[in-house]
C-alpha cells in the first residue's frame, strides 16, 4: 500500500454548492492538514471520504481500497472525530462507549480507560454535562481506542481553548510516532497545522488550490512588502494576491516571481504563514484593502 488515502477527481454537486475535481494523496505515517475558508467544501470532502455523502464523480481509496466497496473493512481501521459529532447526550461516557465499542474488531478497553485517565474524563458523567473540550477529548478517546491506522478529523480543535488544543495536538503528534498511522485533519486554524502537519491540501470554493508538503509550500511562496509607489511599477498579475494599505502593499507571490524582482532595498521579502497563503489565495487580486 503506497498511500493510505487517495482522492482523485472527486466531485459532488448540491443546489447551492459544487465540489469539483478534488485530488490528493496521503502516505502512511504522515499528517495531512486540510485547509480552506468556511464553506470551501472541507466537511463535504470528509463526508465523501467517509461515504456519508455519495460522490457524483471521482474515486476515493483508503488503504488502497474503494471506500464504498470495502466500507466496513475500511471503517474498522478508521478513527473519526467530527466537530459536531452526535452522541446520545442522555447517556454516560461508559454507556456511550458500550454502544460504540462492539462495532470494532480491535477495540481495546485498556487504551480507552487510559485516555479517560489522561484526559480527566469521569466515565459516570453524562455526555450532556461535558464541556465542549471534554466532548472533543471523549470523541478522540473513542477514535483512538480501536488501534485505528488512519484518523480522520473534521475541525477537531474548533472552539477549544488553547490549552486543550495543544493537548489534542500533542496526542496527534504521539500517534504518528507509529509510522504506520496517518492523520487527515481539517481546520481553519492554520497555526495548529504549522506545528504538526507534513502535508497541506488547500481548497477554495469547492476547487483544489494545491496539495503539497509543508516545506515545499514554504519554499515556493514568499510574502513581499513595499511602498505603494513600488506596486505601480510591478506586474500585479504575477501575484497570487495582494493587499494595499495606507502606507504600502503586501503580496503573496511564487518564489520565481520574487527572484525575478532581484535584490532591492525597496522590497522586503518574508516567509508567509499558512494563514497568509490561505488569505491571499482566497481574496485573490481583487482585494485592494484600505486606500
Amino acid at each position: 500500500m503506497d498511500y493510505v488515502l487517495e482522492v482523485e477527481g472527486l466531485s459532488k454537486k448540491f443546489d447551492d454548492f459544487q465540489l469539483k475535481d478534488i485530488s490528493f494523496k496521503l502516505k502512511p505515517g504522515y499528517i495531512m492538514g486540510f485547509i480552506g475558508a468556511n464553506g470551501s467544501g472541507k466537511t463535504t470532502t470528509i463526508k465523501l471520504i467517509m461515504n456519508l455523502l455519495r460522490r457524483d464523480a471521482g474515486k476515493v481509496k483508503i488503504f488502497g481500497k474503494d471506500n464504498i466497496g470495502f466500507e466496513k473493512e475500511i471503517k474498522d481501521r478508521i478513527g473519526f472525530v467530527y466537530d459536531d459529532l452526535y452522541f446520545y447526550d442522555d447517556l454516560t461516557i461508559w454507556e456511550m462507549k458500550d454502544i460504540i465499542a462492539p462495532f470494532y474488531s480491535r477495540w481495546d478497553d485498556k487504551v480507552f480507560n487510559n485516555y479517560l485517565d489522561e484526559f480527566g474524563l469521569p466515565g459516570y458523567k453524562k455526555i450532556k454535562d461535558l464541556s465542549k473540550g471534554m466532548k472533543m477529548k471523549f470523541s478522540l478517546s473513542l477514535a483512538l481506542s480501536h488501534h485505528a491506522d488512519f484518523i480522520i478529523m473534521d475541525e477537531p480543535t474548533a472552539g477549544l481553548d488553547p490549552i486543550v488544543r495543544r493537548e489534542v495536538l500533542d496526542i496527534l503528534y504521539d500517534i504518528i510516532q507509529d509510522e504506520n498511522k496517518s492523520i487527515f485533519f481539517s481546520t481553519h486554524i492554520t497555526t495548529d497545522l504549522e506545528k504538526i502537519a507534513d502535508y497541506i491540501t488547500f481548497i477554495d470554493k469547492g476547487r483544489m488550490v494545491f496539495s503539497k508538503a509543508l516545506d515545499e509550500i514554504y519554499d515556493n511562496y514568499k510574502l513581499i512588502k513595499g511602498d505603494r509607489g513600488l506596486l505601480e511599477k510591478l506586474n500585479r498579475e504575477e501575484f497570487i494576491g495582494f493587499r494595499v494599505h495606507n502606507i504600502g502593499f503586501e503580496a503573496l507571490a511564487g518564489v520565481e516571481v520574487v527572484n525575478s524582482l532581484g535584490t532591492t532595498d525597496e522590497i522586503v521579502v518574508e516567509q508567509p504563514s499558512l494563514e497568509d497563503i490561505m488569505y491571499f489565495y482566497t481574496k485573490g487580486k481583487k482585494y485592494a484593502g484600505t486606500n
Binding site: K47, L53, K75, D90, I99, P102
Partner: protein
C-alpha cells in the same frame, strides 16, 4: 448486524427511565380500553405505539441525521442498518406478544370481564406486518422533521385505516383470509420483502447531510 440490534436494546436499557415512563402511559391506555370494550384488535393496536417508541428513538428532540452520521461512520453497511431495523421490530413484537399474554393472564384472577371473541391473532399479526411494511420505508424517506409526524401519527392511522378498509371488505387481510395459509404466508413474505427493498432503495444511496 448483531451489534446494531444489541445497540437498540442497550439504548432501551440505558434509557430505562423513558422506557418505563412509556410503558406506564401505554399500559394505562391499554387497560382503559380493556375495561371499556374488552380485548379486540383495535385495543391491541395501541401497544404498537409503545413498540414504535422504543424501536425508533426519533423523538422530536433528537437529531436523526446526526445519529445516522455517527452510526454510518462506524463499520456498518447501510444495508445492515436497514435490515436491523426490521429485525429489531420483529424481536420487539415477539416480546410484546409475550408481554400481552402475561398481562392478560395476570389480570384474569382479578375477575375483569374480558371479551376474547374479537381477538384474532392472525388478524393482529397481519395488521402489524402491514403497518410496519409501510412505516419503516417512510422512516427512511423522511430523515428530517417529517419523520416526527410519521413516528407519532402513522402507527395510529395505518392500523385504523386497515380496520376501516376491512369493514368495506377491501383490506389485504380479507385477501389473506380468503386464500389458504400457504398463499397467505407467501403474500406476507412478499410484502415484507417489498418493504425492505423500498427501504434499501431509499436509504442506501442517501446523502446524510
Amino acid at each position: 448486524m448483531l451489534e446494531l440490534i444489541k445497540m437498540d436494546f442497550k439504548l432501551n436499557l440505558y434509557r430505562r427511565k423513558d422506557f418505563f415512563k412509556n410503558l406506564m402511559v401505554y399500559s394505562l391506555i391499554f387497560f382503559t380500553l380493556l375495561l371499556m370494550q374488552g380485548v379486540n384488535p383495535v385495543t391491541l393496536q395501541y401497544p404498537i405505539i409503545f413498540v414504535m417508541e422504543t424501536s425508533f428513538r426519533s423523538r422530536v428532540r433528537e437529531d436523526i441525521v446526526g445519529e445516522l452520521t455517527l452510526i454510518q461512520s462506524l463499520p456498518v453497511k447501510r444495508r445492515e442498518y436497514v435490515i436491523s431495523k426490521y429485525l429489531v421490530v420483529f424481536i420487539k413484537h415477539i416480546i410484546l406478544v409475550f408481554f400481552l399474554y402475561l398481562i392478560l393472564n395476570i389480570i384474569k384472577p382479578l375477575g375483569l370481564t374480558i371479551d376474547y371473541t374479537g381477538v384474532n391473532i392472525k388478524k393482529i399479526i397481519v395488521f402489524w406486518i402491514l403497518s410496519y411494511a409501510i412505516i419503516i420505508p417512510l422512516m427512511f424517506l423522511f430523515l428530517g422533521s417529517g419523520r416526527n409526524f410519521i413516528h407519532v401519527f402513522l402507527p395510529i392511522f395505518i392500523p385504523v385505516g386497515f380496520l376501516i378498509a376491512e369493514e368495506f371488505r377491501g383490506s389485504i387481510y380479507y385477501l389473506v383470509n380468503y386464500l389458504g395459509s400457504l398463499e397467505s404466508l407467501i403474500i406476507i413474505l412478499v410484502v415484507i420483502a417489498l418493504s425492505i427493498w423500498v427501504s434499501l432503495f431509499l436509504y442506501t444511496d442517501r446523502d446524510l447531510a
